[in-house]
Subunit: 491 residues, 2 copies
């Protein structure tokens, strides 16, 4: 038997889960507020669904699976039904739309911000919990709905802090490659999947490597052989020509695609959709640098049925070792016309875009555009005597009333530790109210910003520093003005 | 074997979980933003911990329990460790503080907003997932830290929309009753628990019922007997006198308590703490109507070790049947000096306040103070012809650029359905750009706000309505100004 009073659990977050501190939270809040403003301006309304869905509603599982824990966190409710934590915000939206279809305005436009969970092997920088932000239009088959989602993605990235030219949304259409393969006589689903997988490796292997994977297969450096999709040489070249059809602007990319796509119903439909997306993007004022057609984009192998989008950071960034890296994808989406039908049997077209908030925050950090990080701490009022606590609180209250965050030190340590605390809080100033000051109606303010500026050798405002007092005893009535000058000098 | 293609899951949220729509989300966001501003002004920084904690860290469980699913949602990770979704934000804070104690500024002041989960039987209005907002100071034993938390709670409720006089924070101290019982010779933990449980029923049973529960026991209307705490008559009267010591102001309540508390070390300590809280509340500018001492407050039976707080809505509200009800508690907290020590063995004093965001939103609704609900929808641009889509998007873009949310209708229905859609979206106006308008450089605007105003018989601005056109065709350049006038008239 375990003795409860003696048991001491180890204080640690579960594997693959992290605690997030003020700097990260503020940066992510700034992103979400900016993006929400954009999405609301397009008439999208917020929706929150719950963390749990019934496992069968998540779509990855057979309903009779014994323990559907693959990839998701699942548990059995006390009525024996399996529930799982959502792994994205799209599956819950499809469930919500199917459940409420009759009563929703159609098309239904919603955005959502929420935590999602993946039951995957954790690793450095690989977390099992993160926040996504999605915008989706459910109930519109129009390519203009896709174009609008693309416009919102581009405007959202800009609002979040990525200036024009630092990120772009790449657009493709599943129907194009499908049509091309149909024209080439390829109809086997396994073969088509192999083609998608091969194209998805273009970045890494280049056209020559992909050519092998489209055809018989490829042996890598280690000697391991990957079986290819088994296309004949002509079909493989057609696929490669298609993936290389991207050009400087949307109109000429469309022309290029038309030349290589061959003739098929599905290919023509895909081309027509992209044409309408191009027109709508123009009407929406989306620049050629903000969104382009790129036939090499595959965008996972999941549930997309038509246009797919991928937002990419264009800036080269450096990793921890200072080496240049391509940051790559910062979000994506596409059209998924079959997800709601899973529930209702009725086709309900839908399209959307999703990004991971931490990933976008990292992109902003990489681009040197991080918002909200360098927040000043509160002014700290030091504590000399228990008898004068009310005085300290009154001074802190005065500062707060003037819009300046302030706190009274509430630990039990002496002056030196209190000053160290104020410094660790990143306080702009420490306020001292000793017995002498209280008797004289004065207050002493220590300018901690100045101390930090001196210690980091920022000599660009030497004049101010020469005349800026490190510490001053001033009439109590001048406190707010004095602290405000310190805050303004540091901005 | 199940045929996957035929299986259609039912679209439903899991039992006890809910979807939340725009109105509720906006109301809760407005609360959280207002409260966060207050908490940050006191120098509290945001912290997010993960949804999961190891079950042993949540403190309710034996580490060797086979399936610790009582009250929480728990599952076993692939390394066999039990994890559970957090049921509050205090246990994760204690784990975080213990894990990072060496590197934190001390005292550590943080606020947190997050979803918590309770594995309880769901019922009408009883959800198993909700959002809490907490503020805590870890590492200060000073009663001033409690006072500050109380001040923040009071100021936060006011900032959230409850004006002075509609809510109050009631304060008690566990040490008082403990001390009183010690003075009366009661030291058995079971007996003390019985006393707390009896006092907790004061609201429902009144002093006479509680007197029975303090003594031998009580038979209710159904004849069922509840065993009492077994106090003798003198001790029971002392407890009742204590719970009735609340008075109009904090100073006189303290005097009353001092008279009935008897002499004991713990009681004197509790009284001394309340005295210092009273002084600090004065320094913090907390009015007598915002926070009062109330010895009848028990605040659950959990981990509190000293002062306890309970925020109450003072307004009488009406339930769905129109009957008057006491809304009651809208948040609470207190001092818990033993939670961090569970991990470290070192005592770390802590105090905090927590409220449920939906509960506070409901209180605001009950008080007629709900924020963020009556948001206007976007202006809807109607669609006449696929050929003119770019025009529609350009008009919507113009409105958005002027700060007016706007969308192009992207369904496939005719005019009547489009107007109905605009109305369901709560659009202030519908914009029509037919072939004639486009040729003439004009635009037709239908004032949907006016239609709604007429239908709800709001006759207070009859003059404007008399001259306000229900629909007008105007030069395209005047669109933004025209729509803005509609928006302003509706404010």
């Amino acid at each position: 038997m375990t003795d409860q009073t003696e048991f001491r659990p180890e204080a640690r977050a579960p594997r693959g889960f992290q605690d997030r501190r003020a700097g990260d939270i503020r940066a992510e809040r700034a992103i979400l507020e900016a993006v929400a403003r954009v999405y609301e301006s397009y008439g999208f309304e917020p929706l929150d669904t719950s963390a749990f869905e019934y496992a069968d509603a998540l779509g990855k599982f057979l309903p009779d699976a014994d323990r559907p824990n693959e990839g998701v966190f699942a548990l059995q409710d006390d009525d024996e039904q399996w529930m799982a934590l959502r792994y994205d915000l799209t599956a819950p939206l499809a469930r919500f739309a199917a459940q409420n279809w009759e009563s929703l305005p159609k098309p239904f436009r919603r955005y959502a911000t929420g935590t999602v969970w993946r039951n995957e092997k954790p690793g450095p920088g690989r977390y099992r919990e993160f926040i996504q932000c999605d915008a989706d239009t459910v109930g519109s088959a129009r390519p203009e709905a896709d174009a609008e989602i693309i416009a919102m993605a581009a405007e959202g990235l800009e609002a979040a802090g990525l200036p024009r030219g630092t990120a772009t949304v790449k657009i493709n259409n599943r129907k194009l490659l499908n049509g091309l393969l149909a024209a080439a006589g390829v109809s086997d689903p396994g073969q088509k999947l192999g083609v998608l997988r091969a194209v998805d490796k273009l970045d890494r292997l280049g056209p020559d490597g992909v050519r092998l994977l489209l055809g018989p297969g490829r042996k890598d450096e280690s000697g391991a052989f990957t079986k290819g999709a088994g296309l004949n040489a002509k079909a493989a070249e057609a696929v490669l020509a298609f993936t290389a059809a991207g050009s400087g602007d949307r109109a000429s990319t469309l022309d290029n695609i038309a030349k290589v796509i061959g003739g098929s119903e599905e290919g023509d439909a895909g081309l027509e959709e992209l044409g309408r997306i191009a027109q709508a993007l123009k009407g929406l004022g989306v620049g050629e640098d903000q969104a382009l057609f790129d036939p090499s984009i595959v965008r996972g192998l999941e549930y997309y049925t038509g246009p797919v989008f991928e937002a990419e950071l264009l800036l080269e960034t450096t990793d921890e070792k200072g080496e240049r890296i391509r940051f790559g994808s910062i979000g994506g989406g596409g059209r998924y016309d079959d997800l709601v039908a899973r529930f209702t049997g009725q086709p309900v077209p839908a399209t959307g875009f999703s990004f991971g908030v931490s990933r976008l925050a990292a992109a902003l950090r990489a681009a040197g555009r991080e918002a909200g990080q360098a927040r000043r701490g509160p002014v700290v009022v030091l504590v000399f005597s228990q008898d004068d606590m009310a005085q300290y609180f009154a001074v802190a209250g005065e500062l707060r009333a003037a819009g300046i965050p302030a706190e009274v030190y509430l630990g039990s340590s002496g002056m030196k530790a209190q000053m160290k605390y104020a410094d660790r809080r990143n306080a702009p100033a420490a306020v001292m109210l000793g017995g002498d000051e209280i008797a004289a109606g004065t207050v002493t303010v220590k300018d901690l910003d100045l101390g930090r500026a001196l210690s980091t050798q920022l000599d660009d405002n030497a004049a101010w520093k020469a005349e800026r007092p490190g510490q001053a005893t001033i009439p109590r009535a001048e406190l707010v003005g004095f602290v405000r000058r310190i805050l303004e000098a540091g901005e």
